[in-house]
Symmetry: C2
Subunit: 403 residues, 2 copies
Amino acid sequence: MTTWLDLPADSPYGIHNLPYGVFSAPDRPGRRRIGVRIGDFVLDAGAAARALGRPSVLLDADTLNPLMAAGRSTWTEVRAALTGWLSDEAHRPEISRCLVDLADAELHLPFEVADYVDFYASEHHATNLGRIFRPGSEPLTPNWKHLPIGYHGRAGTVVVSDTPIVRPHGQRKAPADALPSFGPTRRLDIEAEVGFVVGTPTALGTRVALADFREHVFGVCLLNDWSARDIQAWEYVPLGPFLGKSFATSVSPWVVPLDALEAARVTPPARDVEPLPYLDDRDGEPWGLDLAIEVSLNGQVISRPPFASMYWTAAQQLAHMTVNGASLRTGDLYASGTVSGPEPETRGALIELTWNGEQPVKLQDGATRTFLEDGDEVTLTATAPGPDGTRIGFGEVTGRIVP
Amino acid sequence: MTTWLDLPADSPYGIHNLPYGVFSAPDRPGRRRIGVRIGDFVLDAGAAARALGRPSVLLDADTLNPLMAAGRSTWTEVRAALTGWLSDEAHRPEISRCLVDLADAELHLPFEVADYVDFYASEHHATNLGRIFRPGSEPLTPNWKHLPIGYHGRAGTVVVSDTPIVRPHGQRKAPADALPSFGPTRRLDIEAEVGFVVGTPTALGTRVALADFREHVFGVCLLNDWSARDIQAWEYVPLGPFLGKSFATSVSPWVVPLDALEAARVTPPARDVEPLPYLDDRDGEPWGLDLAIEVSLNGQVISRPPFASMYWTAAQQLAHMTVNGASLRTGDLYASGTVSGPEPETRGALIELTWNGEQPVKLQDGATRTFLEDGDEVTLTATAPGPDGTRIGFGEVTGRIVP
């Protein structure tokens, strides 16, 4: 399978990827359209369908939600059509007129977020935080290996990559302080995560079994769960994180179809606690994913978190999230939790990389960082194995801190 | 101010209330319309506007969201118009044709929920739970009197009154159990709460000051935050409640306009910790509200929680929720947290009323309850002082437990 476009063989945005996004461009200013990334172009998907005499209400939309709601069989059909348009030389005249230079495109939040849930699925991350915050006691809470711990976040503050991140204010109280004080966070952090986007909804009172994961999840993005550690530490007992997280969550502008990740599937790490049947994926199709993530701070790679090391998979998270009968809506977004591998240089948050600020990260210009300073820019990128030795690229998620 | 309708003088749904809802009725089957409750009638608001030659896109909608988004000055105008239509005898011929018997109306979720946040603002409730779960230690966490503790819940499972509540399954582990088990919750509980509905949105990075509360909050409803205590107890450390809550949250079908509650405003209880300036309402307009709530189980009143006893007000909660720059969307719903007064018979959850199941509630038929059984029906109602000695009624929120 090759495309008639002139792309490098190792392009992470080749014909095997075809991630979906929403863009606008100067040819129709302000008009949001569904785009599919190929190389450094964006295919105007609705225009392409019309050009070939196959107009589609799902592709002529200003968000991905209608396509996402249409379900797995439609996703397969649409992906096959797009693949055909970009590989069949006969379509080149019409389709090439529907390509926009990526540099000319403004990328928008690709879908309307319904509910946003954040998990906590890296054993290394949870263990590191336990060691930092509860030294001397068991780092993992007793429930950790029995269920994928998660909580709801703020859907309304999920923003697309390149949205400036305003340093949040809030209450902070260090253990030595007598009283809390109010002001800008002094411990602004990142969390490198992978996000899963729900397409097919479910009815209240029903569950999604592990085996039905692919019927419901449309695709995958990268996600930076910005965290104000001082605000979070003071507020989170007993009901969990709230304002320490709710000021912003950034997502990548491209949603990689689940179908593009077949070659990336791996067996998750061995579980040392037997899972309850609804979470037991040992006899089925496991959904570990071999994404290689890179975290850059001001252009310098500071960590390489391996997503394959996650203890709980996205399929287990979906099964857990719905086992109580909670319904799914099109646009539900759930994130993996911070991705941290076993080695220090694979940790997905500054609080771990700097061990609670005790071991600053050194930057090439001689500067150091414990937490983020105003003007800092953080970028997450990732690639995964594609078919036939290709690579699948994830659009970067970037945010710059403003005061 | 009186209406030309023949209503008892003490009707809680008189001309001073006029709560908004969304209904359908046999005259236009399946068609959702905005309704305003007056006595035991529903005024078809869009039809009324058209009948008087003042068609309105805000009233001819199938949810309250467009009206809610229009902002305070529009809310005032629309309320004045409705009041005029129902009080001016000259409008009686046209308007009376737009009244539907409440008994013929099906009531729907009145607005699309954007984000849902649940607070924890009753000192009595938080103290009771602290005593039950952490006997021998300080019942309130150190942060409790410095900030209104809250967390995000699941917006997609907010349902309207009369939606059956399916008993959720999940993982439960009592302290004495070696391993968690899976099955239906054995400790299904209620939480009697008051919900605040946001109309006017805000931009990311901005805050809502205490004084701007009424610019953003459209109205008030009753809310039952169903809780599976065994699931919650096992899952909630360290990131807060998740599946123990996310299976369903019931709201009343009528949203009482904030303007109907002026006479219900009271000074909140004295705070024994000085609030930070952004939460300090001592020199402004305090937003304590004197709602008298009743909780009924199978038709029998089991508790009378006084909302005026809440430590944190809805204005403080809104100021806190946005102090980190988190944006508001039209349809954001936030709940007060369980309303419990100081006396045992004013507690708003079974776990408190039965002191963790040790002191069962006695029902008139000789039965007792610690937690809810299948077939049980719970109803919350409330009234508040209205102008000129009237009462403002809140539409009941009811749910029946099904297996």
